[in-house]
Symmetry: C2
Subunit: 221 residues, 2 copies
């Protein structure tokens, strides 16, 4: 091995050993953020959370970030002159943290197009239904819609975030049974359990795969 | 036990021992009809097929009916003056056979409203998607639509037939994974395998349950 090859090899090793940094956007309790930390701790997800950004100063998710000694930022869109200005603040915070992937984990505001444009096919969201069924709305609306429609199988979906809400290409889905005696609360809890498995798995696969789009199909190689 | 009680008990026993008769409507190869016969043979479905009605004189399903010595009728809608006339012929054939439940197993024509009206909430259909997603069209259209939409979970649905196509209340659903290298043929075959389990199970449950509708939710008690 000559010097150039050796350097290239050592750079490759350095690169492979780098743990990719993700940014997580939250608005609420942060149970999916907790699931991400759990997956990292048990070695199922090879990533580090570099920053947590909350749209809500009172989100319990901020306490989860603090417990894991991860820097957190509160960026409340309505405190900014425009949604785009808030978006610029989000982009700046994500870049400063070195995030290569952005995960929306119960993030309520609609992301400004400038954020979507800054991280093309690098922002993912989890939605509590099998999209395209029951798109639109945050929990518990999709779960309530599924119950009202009388479906016997619902589930959750991890998808890329595009400017059209809940219409980005689908990365991963998992089915969840709906029972005759379900309430919105019971169904929501059952779906959330599955989200906690699906989201870290999907993050791991995206970080360590090449993403190919064939029409609307996401192929991870 | 006095005579009246004894008579009532024996009538109950007679009633329970009665094997309900179903009618099956087909248009094609009849693999779901075969699955019904298989489930009856292995004791998983307590019913007898009293009649098979085909919209297609060349349907291989007719051979399956013959192999099981079940009477078959060919009723081709376009041979009748109207869809309603064909519907009347279907109703007459089903009634003559004593069918208490009508199963559409790959039946292509849209049933006339008079048939739906004659068997309210007693006609069921199987559809190769998780309704309400990918409603409309016969195989392989829903499977092709699911693939094109990029979903990672599809499945099949047994639902009551109402006058609105593919919109009747959902009785049972089962999920089926969609793989990155799927073709319409591969996905269709995987869904069909699951249909063969789901349809006989759903028939057994409907025959031996009380059906309650709560909005669009089907509750089987």
């Amino acid at each position: 091995m000559n010097t150039a090859e050796s350097e290239a090899a050592s750079q490759d090793i350095t690169h492979n050993a780098d743990i990719p940094t993700i940014g997580v956007l939250v608005s609420g309790r942060g149970s999916n953020l907790e699931a991400i930390f759990d997956a990292i701790a048990r070695g199922a997800l090879h990533a580090r959370v570099g920053i947590v950004i909350s749209s809500n100063p009172n989100a319990p998710a901020l306490g989860i970030a603090a417990a894991h000694e991860v820097p957190a930022r509160v960026i409340v869109p309505k405190d900014y002159a425009s949604r785009a200005e808030a978006g610029m603040a989000i982009i700046a915070a994500l870049r400063a943290a070195g995030a290569v992937l952005v995960v929306l984990a119960g993030y309520k505001p609609i992301l400004d197009g400038c954020v979507v444009g800054a991280y093309p096919m690098r922002i993912i969201n989890i939605h509590p239904s099998l999209l395209p069924a029951f798109a639109g709305g945050m929990a518990p609306r999709p779960q309530a819609d599924a119950l009202a429609a009388g479906v016997k199988i619902s589930g959750c979906t991890v998808h890329f975030v595009t400017e059209a809400v809940d219409e980005g290409p689908i990365i991963a889905q998992a089915p969840v049974p709906v029972y005759d005696d379900d309430t919105v609360e019971r169904l929501s809890a059952r779906i959330l359990d599955v989200e906690h498995r699906l989201l870290p798995q999907a993050i791991e696969r995206i970080l360590y795969s090449t993403v190919r789009l064939e029409g609307r199909r996401v192929i991870l190689i």
